[in-house]
């Protein structure tokens, strides 16, 4: 719905070998809904590629570095990063809403980029720094400026989209420390809210940016 500038929007997938439903669909230039009409062959079995590593279908060891801590899991290779976080590590800040890379409520930061965790397999996230909302809690006994700005601007109602939005704002501000309101509207177009908290989110993003710049100056 929002016109999303792919440069500014920043929902990129990490690593050149990263493969996800979303990056695959982006790669072939179609939207998610058109998958059903794809001609056979485009969705060719990955093992047909030479050198592809086959895992599963049973549980396999998976190692994830989340908020600086390594977690070793034994999960099926089809488990998404989101399900690994929520169902296997009890890190439930990232929410499951659309489960197909549309709404952004599962946004986490992987290798510095905001990513829809429902659109990435856990096995693909191995070897990369994964930051979740839980890692944003407190570094010096004080909440991060982004969640604080969300509170001050009442940028949340039911709160179900909020952790994803907070992570999207954080990743956006990391790349755009001094954004305009127009850039905020463009850059955060990948996160949806049902209660309608966007007015607060816009201002929270601007306020948090100011706060974070202030922090750097000091």
């Amino acid at each position: 719905m929002s016109k999303i500038d792919s440069e500014d929007h920043g929902k990129k997938h990490p690593g050149k070998k990263g493969f996800s439903r979303r990056s695959f669909l982006q790669g072939i230039g179609i939207s998610g809904g058109a998958v059903a009409s794809l001609p056979k062959g485009l969705l060719a079995e990955p093992q047909a590629e030479s050198g592809a590593r086959v895992m599963g279908p049973g549980p396999v060891p998976v190692s994830l570095r989340i908020n600086g801590k390594v977690h070793n899991l034994n999960i099926e290779p089809r488990v998404t990063l989101l399900d690994a976080l929520r169902n296997h590590l009890d890190l439930t800040g990232a929410k499951k809403v659309c489960d197909r890379s549309v709404c952004g409520t599962c946004t986490v930061i992987v290798a510095g980029h905001p990513v829809y965790a429902c659109g990435l397999l856990a096995i693909e996230a191995q070897g990369k720094d994964i930051q979740t909302i839980e890692g944003l809690l407190s570094t010096h006994g004080k909440a991060h400026p982004v969640p604080t700005a969300f509170v001050e601007n009442d940028a949340q109602q039911c709160g179900f989209c909020t952790p994803g939005f907070v992570m999207a704002v954080k990743a956006f501000l990391d790349k755009h420390p001094n954004p305009t309101m127009e850039q905020v509207k463009q850059g955060l177009g990948g996160n949806l809210c049902r209660c309608g908290t966007y007015i607060g989110v816009r201002q929270a993003a601007l306020d948090a940016a100011r706060e974070m710049r202030g922090g750097k100056r000091a």
Partner: protein, 717 residues
């Protein structure tokens, strides 16, 4: 008659009416808030549902054998045995609980079901194709419509409508159920902590496997819930099966709907279409109305929209028809039937104004005296016009610019009741100075938790941090479900009364030691002091220490006839929208919305404003993007996902200006706010598009295809 329970006078309020951050804000924005979906119980299983792919069918065979043999499957329940007539796509057929979500999904796929497919109807906009699926649903005549139309100088006739939309709660419906003997705890995403447990218990008691369960054995916990909007009042079939699976497996079970299931069956706002005829005198005075409307609420009735809306045109005749369709059943959707009524009324009135060569603002100002609160609407319309700069922006319909981008403005007005529901609050003051307010209420994100804290803290002279608000548990004193904007009025009144009573007890306890009587003491700024003499005082903590070992526990109730008049019913509101329409693509872009709203005494101005911002945004979605799209050929919903069931994004909603009517409205006490501001946006936006283009897009959502079709029909393409 004044009462000690009355709200404090404006100059004495230290918290009420201020902009205060929500109490659970940081828990939500740091991901610590645990929702039902986030509840992972030790050893817990995950359940998934098998649902019907057909809109209308009979189950002829069901075989769960292969699914049962799958490793990791712990319990299976058939919900629609052979012979069941399924009436909509998404109807629950069976449920599986398994060790992991992946195994549960695999098992669902292995259940074999055969259906006898039956004829269906899933679309109702064209009433001529509804066949025998219609039935009369309300007819009403006031005054003398024929005579009224004979007096009219101008008559307008037109077709208008609003398509079915869905709630699309971000946290889907569902729960975790856990048994301990015959006691069941349900962590449910619900708007009714106080009632769904009993309802669930009754169903379980009727099941031989759980016959020992009493309704009071089911405890419901909802600390946080991710949106309901009217759709989460029932334990639901998936709640019952979740409890049954947990019983059968002997382990906690989580069953949350998948997104497609959520959109298919967990809530729909009924459509409403109408052929409208309305007449006025040359000066704009409305004299007659006639409408034939139709609506679908799925297989159940939807009720008739209250038209003509707000403005009670003296001579009027309305007839409504209910159409039963094989679609997911209707549930209350924020201000049930009112947004549709606003479209069916404010749009034809705006078109009538055009025929009269009148600015619609003038037409509305002239006729709001036909509403029960004419002066309020007049004040709100004038305030909205000022904030929109209406006089500068309004132009004759279709004169929205010479280029391909056309701008226009439109307006609508609305009403709602919002009287407080029944509520009990237990207010506890402990000897250590801590305070708990306990209510079996729930915070949907509206700010209920914060409002309770503000009322208790204000009454006790404490900072907000001095009160612990404990809600979201059916073990607390009962409070009504959160629907119809009834919560804030209910919990504010019960909390105020409980707090006054508890404070009285504290003052009685400390007065002798302070050499005075309780009636001479007040609680302010964290102290108990002699009125007018701050030198004679105790800190709150020191005062509470005088209680010795015995805590104070007092209960306040709503309603309570003799304990102050703390609330009222009936609010108004006026909204204006400014849009820009691209006549080459048909895309409507929001430029600005103005929402002017009264709701009596506001407890927290910040969360009250958030309700209005959010309502405008939700209203923009239903005006421009949202529709539950069905295909009559297959009987299926084409957009049971979030790619094509479109919600507006952060860049789609333009500028929004909210103005709360305060001061003179305070004396009415607290009135609910959740519903009213969501009513007007679609009508105001539709009217703005009409003003821009000079042609009416008859139904919402106003999608680009409809805009282009209307332009072509109007000879403007």
């Amino acid at each position: 008659m004044p009462s000690k329970y009355d709200w404090p006078a404006a100059e004495k309020r230290s918290l009420i009416g201020k902009r205060i951050n929500r109490l659970d804000g940081l828990a939500k924005s740091t991901g610590r808030a645990k929702y039902s979906y986030d509840t992972n119980r030790p050893g817990g299983l995950t359940a998934k549902l098998l649902t019907s792919p057909y809109a209308h069918a009979r189950v002829t065979k069901i075989d769960t054998g292969e699914a049962e043999r799958l490793a990791g499957v712990r319990a299976i329940r058939v919900m629609s045995p052979v012979g069941t007539e399924v009436q909509w796509q998404g109807y629950e057929i069976a449920a599986v609980a398994a060790d992991t979500e992946e195994i549960a999904r695999d098992a669902v796929r292995k259940i074999q079901v055969e259906y006898e497919v039956l004829p269906h109807l899933v679309k109702e906009e064209d009433l001529s194709k509804a066949g025998n699926r219609t039935k009369p649903s309300g007819e009403n005549t006031q005054g003398n419509p024929d005579q009224g139309f004979s007096q009219a100088d101008v008559i307008h006739e037109g077709f208008y409508g609003a398509n079915v939309i869905t709630h699309c709660c971000l946290e889907p419906h569902g729960q975790v159920a856990e048994w301990d003997g015959d006691n069941c705890t349900v962590y449910a995403s619900t708007q009714a902590v106080g009632s769904i447990g009993r309802e669930l218990g009754k169903v379980l008691a009727a099941d031989p496997a759980t016959a020992n369960v009493k309704p009071s054995n089911v405890r419901v916990i909802t600390q946080y819930m991710g949106g309901g909007f009217g759709s989460k009042f029932s334990p639901d079939r998936w709640g019952i099966v979740c409890a049954q699976l947990a019983r059968q497996a002997g382990k906690p079970v989580k069953l949350m709907l998948d997104r497609d299931q959520e959109l298919l069956m967990a809530g729909a706002r009924p459509s409403h279409f109408a052929k409208v005829k309305v007449g006025a005198k040359k000066d704009g005075t409305l004299v007659a109305w006639e409408s034939e409307s139709w609506t679908t609420g799925g297989m159940s009735g939807a009720g008739a929209a209250p038209i003509p809306y707000v403005i009670e045109i003296p001579n009027r005749k309305t007839r409504n028809i209910a159409v039963s369709t094989n679609t997911g059943p209707a549930r209350a959707w924020r201000a049930p039937n009112h947004p549709q009524a606003a479209v069916l009324t404010m749009c034809p009135l705006t078109d009538l104004a055009a025929k009269l060569n009148m600015d619609p603002l003038e037409l509305f100002l002239k006729n709001v005296s036909l509403s029960p609160r004419g002066d309020v609407y007049r004040a709100e319309l004038l305030k909205a016009a000022e904030l929109m700069d209406w006089k500068a922006k309004y132009h004759a319909p279709g004169k929205g610019g010479n280029g391909y981008l056309k701008r226009g403005v439109g307006l609508s007005i609305h009403t709602w009741g919002g009287r407080g529901h029944d509520s009990e609050c237990r207010l506890i003051i402990n000897p250590d100075g801590s305070v708990q307010a306990q209510l079996g209420s729930q915070d949907l994100g509206t700010g209920t938790r914060t409002v309770i804290g503000i009322v208790a803290a204000e009454t006790l002279g404490l900072p907000l941090s001095g009160v612990q608000v404990q809600i979201g548990d059916s073990n607390y004193p009962p409070s009504g479900g959160s629907g119809g904007s009834t919560t804030v009025g209910g919990v504010s009144a019960s909390t105020r009364r409980a707090s006054v009573k508890a404070l009285d007890k504290l003052l009685e306890a400390v007065a002798p030691g302070m050499g005075t009587t309780a009636d001479k003491l007040v609680a302010v700024d964290g102290r108990i002091q002699v009125q007018g003499d701050p030198s004679k005082s105790l800190t709150w903590k020191a005062a509470c220490a005088k209680l010795g070992t015995k805590a104070i526990s007092e209960t306040g109730r709503q309603p309570a006839r003799d304990e102050g008049n703390l609330g009222d019913s009936g609010v108004g509101g006026a909204q204006m929208a400014e849009v820009e329409v691209d006549t080459e693509t048909g895309i409507v872009t929001m430029r600005k919305m103005v929402a002017v709203q009264d709701c009596g005494l506001i407890i927290d101005l910040k969360t009250a404003e958030s309700q209005c911002y959010g309502a405008c945004i939700m209203g923009i979605g239903s005006a421009l993007y949202e529709e539950k799209i069905y295909d009559q050929q297959t009987g299926r919903m084409l957009n049971a996902d979030m790619e094509f069931y479109k919600l507006g994004g952060i860049g789609d909603v333009g500028e929004i200006v909210v103005h709360m009517m305060t001061r003179d409205y305070d004396q009415r006490g607290v009135i609910g706010l959740g519903e009213p501001p969501v009513i007007s946006p679609p009508a105001a936006i539709s009217n703005a598009v009409f003003n821009a283009l000079g042609v009416r897009i008859p139904t919402i959502p106003i999608t680009p295809d409809k805009v282009l079709a209307a332009l072509e029909k109007g000879g403007m393409a």
